[in-house]
Symmetry: none
Subunit: 526 residues, 2 copies
């Protein structure tokens, strides 16, 4: 099996997408998951253009990465100066990575019109910059910006720029369809030509403006490209970058190339949804391979055929990419999913236990109401263990009151809770930065004397999503809370038309899960 290396630029080019913005913490989380999935390169940012990115390059060194090489992005040197005077190239060195990707112009029109430079100077800029970075012992990837448009405009010059990168010692030459306007047959033809002219390994970097980025990337690989650049879920400027989530299974499961290890590809669905969750993007149901509807069958005729042989209406088995078949009109979906999931969480569910049916019904009811357990596995585990009678009542909420009010120009928030713990009634009041923070503070205050270990845990993330848009502030919201005790993290969910009620549910689950974990059962945090 021929190897194709996967170069992920979610953390850099992906964040150019409208509405996508990732904190340094977000980026680190995603990097960890990308590495677990088996991606070969993770482009972390552009240290020369964005000071925030430097922080990522510092912190990422502490992550225990297994496969992925962290890459920093930059450009060829500015015109009229030498490479070692160029601040942007210096910043690449300072970032401390072992791999850098620099882009340079290959389209004559861009050189003269966007860069206001000469064709000759541009060639030197490419050569000098690659050579400079190579002389510092780095692996250098040359991103040939606008290469396909450049080739169509002036193939001689476009090829010359690649030659300069090769002469400079580039380890990879990556052909970019920067504007996303090229079609697959053109990509194929042009890559085939380039393949004959270069000895350096070739990669490809596509954008989705023609809705062909996946096909374009595949066309390039079929003509010899051995590195594919893209992003998770196709995030990126305008219409997005090539979607690695679709490219990888196409290459590996359909065309027999090797991208990640066999067992890693079944992480595809959870990876895709995890990144959506971190980026706070609602996962499109119809996303190929990993969407909720990707293997969902609606029509009666299709369903009955599927039940006989899934391959009648499925292009591949959903399990291969970690997704699930769903039969939308039938109650048949579930038991096997449930058993599969329980096993994953180290819970012993007997196949013939009648409780399974009750759990399934509960699950369906909750999902119908808008709960989603994909990103809230602690809540899922609580649901299952509750039905199994394994969750004791640590405390109950008798009532609460939250008051947000202005005082002079400040906004004050106060929460009062009344809990019942071991037959004792406890009151506590606390202030906070907002209603949920105040609520959380009051809960902890009330519980601390009974469960001092609660001091070990804290909320580490809080996300809100409106479920039925159009209803606006009267709509249902889903709150996802992530908690941590410094070592482990777990996620919980709440749903309500009232954001405070939804927050309470997820706070309640978070605390219960932690106490269960501490006191009762050896369970894995999730």
């Amino acid at each position: 099996m021929e190897k194709v290396l996967i170069y992920d630029t979610t953390l850099r080019d992906g964040t150019q997408g409208e509405g996508i913005s990732l904190s340094v913490e977000d980026k680190l989380k995603i990097a960890l998951r990308l590495d677990q999935f088996g991606v070969h390169y993770i482009e972390g940012g552009w240290p020369g253009s964005n000071p925030k990115d430097m922080e990522f390059f510092q912190k990422v060194k502490e992550l225990p990465l297994k496969t992925a090489k962290i890459t920093a992005f930059g450009s060829t040197r500015r015109q009229g100066i030498s490479a070692d005077q160029d601040e942007n190239l210096q910043k690449l060195l300072e970032s401390g990575v072992s791999v850098v990707a620099i882009f340079g112009k290959t389209w004559d029109f861009q050189v003269t019109h966007a860069l206001n430079s000469t064709l000759e100077e541009n060639l030197s800029m490419i050569y000098d910059s690659v050579k400079f970075l190579k002389s510092h012992g780095l692996e250098v990837i040359f991103d040939a910006e606008h290469f396909f448009d450049g080739y169509k405009a002036n193939s001689t010059y476009a090829l010359e720029t690649l030659k300069k990168a090769e002469e400079g010692g580039a380890d990879w030459i990556v052909l970019c369809d920067t504007n996303g306007g090229t079609l697959p047959h053109e990509i194929g033809e042009i890559v085939a030509v380039v393949k004959q002219k270069l000895t350096t390994p070739i990669g490809v970097h596509c954008h989705n403006d023609s809705e062909c980025a996946v096909a374009n990337s595949i066309a390039a690989v079929r003509e010899g490209a051995r590195q594919v650049q893209g992003t998770m879920n196709g995030y990126g400027e305008r219409c997005g970058n090539a979607n690695l989530i679709s490219i990888i299974p196409n290459l590996q499961l359909k065309l027999g190339y090797s991208c990640v290890r066999e067992e890693q590809i079944s992480l595809l669905t959870s990876l895709s949804r995890y990144v959506h969750e971190i980026a706070n993007v609602a996962p499109p149901n119809n996303q190929p391979f990993t969407g909720m509807s990707a293997f969902a069958h609606k029509g009666g005729m299709h369903v009955s055929a599927i039940l006989k042989s899934p391959e009648t209406y499925e292009h591949m088995a959903p399990e291969r990419v970690g997704n699930q078949r769903r039969v939308l009109v039938s109650e048949l979906s579930g038991q096997s999913n449930l058993l599969y999931k329980a096993q994953e969480l180290n819970m012993d569910l007997d196949k013939s236990n009648p409780v399974n049916k009750r759990i399934l019904q509960k699950l369906k009811k909750m999902e119908h109401e808008g709960y989603q357990y994909e990103g809230a596995e602690a809540s899922f585990e609580l649901l299952v263990r509750e039905e199994l009678g394994e969750v004791k009542e640590f405390f109950t909420l008798e009532s609460f009151k939250i008051l947000v009010e202005t005082e002079d120009s400040a906004v004050n928030t106060m929460a009062i809770v009344k809990l019942r713990v071991f037959d004792e009634v406890v009151h506590a009041a606390a202030e906070g930065n907002g209603p949920v923070n105040a609520f959380d503070n009051a809960l902890r205050k009330a519980l601390e004397s009974f469960y001092p270990e609660i001091r070990e845990m804290h909320l580490s993330d809080y996300k809100v999503r409106v479920l039925d848009e159009g209803g606006a502030t009267a709509a249902k919201v889903r709150v996802l809370v992530e908690s941590s005790n410094g070592k482990e993290q777990w996620n919980t969910v709440g749903v309500s038309t009232n954001i405070i009620e939804a927050s309470w549910q997820s706070l309640f689950d978070s605390i219960r899960y932690f106490l269960l974990m501490k006191n009762e059962l050896k369970v894995n945090a999730r």
Copy 2:
């Protein structure tokens, strides 16, 4: 220019998509727009499987269609009966259309496993059904279901099924990638073979399970297919059908085929958004060609290049498909972004006006605090107009109080606001489904007697994002509010550690923007 006929099946296959459901009225509205756009065939439904569809076929006769032929969908006859005994074929005749599309099996495995029939009988079913419909004077399109999978499994048999349709007199033979698993190079190769075997015109019908449906349709056309079946915005079962909204501009503007008239293609964006609206689907910003972000530029370097020559970072002029260029205002923006943006919003900003510097500083300060204007252009416009002294004080908030508390097992929410309007002090109180909803209700109540037009506007979407994660519920949140008056939409933003305060800011901007729009200035909603 070679003609490629467009066959739209939004009204039939599109409605198989999860969450897509269209009333008869919806279908009629969409049919009218499809005809205006220049589509050649509109598949209205499956009269034999869905009695509701019959109503559409009755009513559509009254529409003044210019180009499009209305098509009814069905299947080949059932096994063991003659064509004229088949109820489903009878229903096709009863629907009163002049064009029918019937699908038949071409994959041997499907015939024996899904249909439980024999290969021989299936050939007769195809031949008989086509011949029967032709004998009634109809134009007959044969949809060769699973053709590409069938061809890969047993090419001889698959081709034989097509031959039977041809012998029966089919006007078109449409090769279907029903499961959506085929890749472009396979489509191209197989269509080329079929083209040599048949004299009947060929069409193609793709699904997007491999994220290649657009590329697959193009590959088929390049090998001789002259009809493309697909749906608006790619709606359809699982991952959807081939997206005609992307296929048409690719074929017509990039490859020189003729699909619709030159002036019609500039209706593409409004058509795409209209169908999203009727189907009640939130238009994906990153949708190729027609999305809000399809021609949006974020990076400062890209922006300055775009200002010199748009083709530097655009694969085509947005106006050709009826879309617009947008420059996103973000951290990276400089004076050029600001001027461009202001111009876009019909604001007169003089390049040399010293106020620009102040606006930019304010913008940077706000963005540093977490405001983001790329999804909140109304707030951006207010910021600029405020600096220009163009925003009058419609009202001010003196104070508010929000109370969320449990009563029995319910959660009650109440908001009290004190506003100053025209030197009058107004109090109002209102309940709501949550604190923000209650706040919004109270604000409206207080303002209604001063600004009765406020009844025209409503909140249409509400989004919350935690900015600095790790701080969790004490972290800063950004609230984005989308408002609408039924015709126009505008977006506003608020940032605070307190979600109530952030919500207030975006509500405040939303109301101010609306009042400004109504009372003061001719501004475009955004």
